[in-house]
């Protein structure tokens, strides 16, 4: 009997102790409620803590940066293009008491963040052109040397850019979370993509752009080849005709010189001209007559005259 009383008391003490002591981890913070009414002072230090057993209740919250990952939403930009926007945010519980009063727990916070961040994102996107959402700066793009100059893509100038839009969303969201005991540290646009129907259009545009470049390359090839072949024709004609001209000139000069040599020899006097004629006639005569030639010799000709003269 006595042992059972001792046992009972020990057990009761243990239970009381268990209810009076609680452990807070490095990453945690907590508030205490007394009959449902929260106490003013949150507990932030990690380690072993005491409370009034049974009366006070511990509510533990995370102290770390927490994640918020938005659903991908289909949003219109100011220039009426529909895009998928996927955002994420970092937030933390800065005032556990306020947090507990306003949002109760993390699930409540997530729901509220959904409302705030999705809404502000929608507003910001709707206030800017697609280009502003995608781009971050007005930098000059590097140029691919191998591409034709006219095809070097340009980055259209922007006014705000992604960073400014992000800041816009963050500022607006922060203003709305002030009294919730939480702080949004950062909002980022994780993914931006065309919706499927627009994507197909973009693909078509990209394809036609590439086709244009390919066509250009091909026609450049043809053009350049034709130019070279044309040059070849021209050079050929130039070389050949120049050679022809030079050859003719050389021949002409030689002919002229030969003629003048002949003339200076044959044209010395009337006598020489006569002798040349005679000589040439004899030569020609000698060359003309061959085996198949029949000669008709007139007795009145000179040859026979010699005969007759001698025979007389």
């Amino acid at each position: 009997m006595r042992t059972s009383i001792i046992l009972f008391i020990t057990l009761a003490l243990l239970v009381t102790l268990g209810s009076a002591v609680y452990e807070l981890r490095e990453s945690e913070q907590a508030i205490l409620t007394q009959f449902g009414r929260p106490l003013d002072r949150p507990v932030i230090e990690p380690g072993l803590h005491f409370k009034v057993p049974f009366i006070q209740k511990v509510h533990v919250f995370d102290k770390r940066f927490l994640e918020w990952d938005g659903e991908a939403n289909q949003l219109p930009t100011r220039d009426k293009r529909f895009i998928w926007v996927d955002t994420y945010a970092r937030w933390r519980i800065t005032d556990p008491l306020l947090f507990f009063q306003r949002l109760r727990d993390e699930r409540g916070a997530q729901t509220r963040l959904d409302d705030i961040l999705d809404g502000e994102t929608r507003n910001a996107i709707a206030n800017h052109d697609l280009l502003e959402v995608v781009r971050a700066s007005n930098r000059t793009p590097l140029v691919d040397e191998s591409l034709p100059e006219t095809e070097a893509s340009v980055l259209e100038p922007i006014e705000a850019g992604r960073e400014a839009i992000r800041q816009e969303i963050l500022d607006a969201a922060q203003a709305r979370t002030d009294d919730l005991g939480i702080e949004i540290l950062d909002v980022r646009l994780k993914r931006i993509n065309y919706i499927e129907s627009v994507r197909a259009e973009v693909y078509d545009r990209m394809i036609s752009e590439r086709k244009r470049i390919a066509t250009r390359y091909r026609s450049e090839g043809d053009g350049e080849a034709s130019r070279i072949l044309g040059e070849m024709e021209r050079d050929l004609k130039q070389i050949q005709s120049q050679a022809y001209r030079q050859a003719q000139e050389i021949r002409g000069a030689a002919d002229a010189e030969a003629t003048s040599i002949y003339a200076s020899a044959y044209d010395q006097s009337a006598d020489s001209r006569d002798f040349y004629q005679f000589l040439k006639t004899l030569e020609t005569f000698e060359e003309t007559v061959d085996r198949d030639t029949s000669l008709l010799l007139s007795t009145g000709g000179e040859f026979y005259r010699y005969l007759q003269d001698s025979g007389r």
Partner: protein
Amino acid sequence: MSKIHGFPGGKGNGSGDDVVIELPDLDELRRRFSGGDGGGGKLIRIGLIVGLVLAVIFTSAFTIEPEEVGVVMRFGEFQRYASPGLNLKIPLGVEEVIKVPVERQLKEEFGFRTEQAGVRTQYAGGSFDDEALMLTGDLNIANVEWVVQYRIVDPYKYLFRVRNVRETFRAMSEAVTREVVGDRTVNEVLTVGRAQVATLVEQQLQELADQYETGLKVEQVVLQNVNPPDEVKASFNDVNQAEQERSSKINQAQSQYNERIPRARGEAEQAISQAEGYGLERTNRAEGEANRFNALYGEYRQAPEVTRKRMYLETMAVVLPRAGGKIIVDEGMEGLVPMFNMDTRQPTARQGGVGSGAVAGGDG
């Protein structure tokens, strides 16, 4: 949590991995002592004490592997780091250890998954297009696959500053990569700007990791495949092909040029040389013939009459024997020519061959 080595009772599962307390042994002890009816309460007491001692030993000693660091907490509060080797802590749940692999290089893949790592559930069955497809600064689409290698450098921050570090880190990496790619033309991303993209992502991701107090260090960002989307890949390839065609066409024309022009130049020189040869021959012959004539003429002038006759007769002496037919007609005879049958023989009978006008004319 702690790994226990050299545990005497750990015979069954010799591996000794992550065992808090080898319960089978305690059970065995208890069974043995309660079953033996001789010893009774004393044995039970000894058994309990032994069990308690063992439990204290095994919850106070722990090993840290070389690539790890141990984070020791007392009642949840951070106390100290434990370096690799055998370490001690206050037993029985007062202190606990979390091991963080600070020296191990960790890796996150985007746009693809290596097979060994397995496909994570939320991506199972699907493609990773959502991750890889991104808008470029000229509003085109590029398919970018990349890998981020990183290390945990600050275990405290890693454990206690950010929840779900890995998810956070993935989201950061996606946001940063898209921001960098979104500020570049599709050509830059695909070709000239690739290296720059990787460097910038690495830099900005590190900045963000510091800002978020993740305790991570980005070691390297590697762009794996950067491609146009599948739907337009063919047309991108076609551009490459067209570029090849262009140079091959130019090369062909050039080689044709190189084949024809030097030959034509050679031929031109040949024609000119031939003309020069002709010229030389022509003048030399003229010179020779003129000289010969002059020599002959010089002699002729000494005795024109005789020389002339001599030359005439000498020529006849050569010519007459050679001729095939000879007909001698009298001076007075007329109308002879029609008597020849001109059909059977070719008109070789040349009137005026001998005593012709030429010779006669020469006389005159």
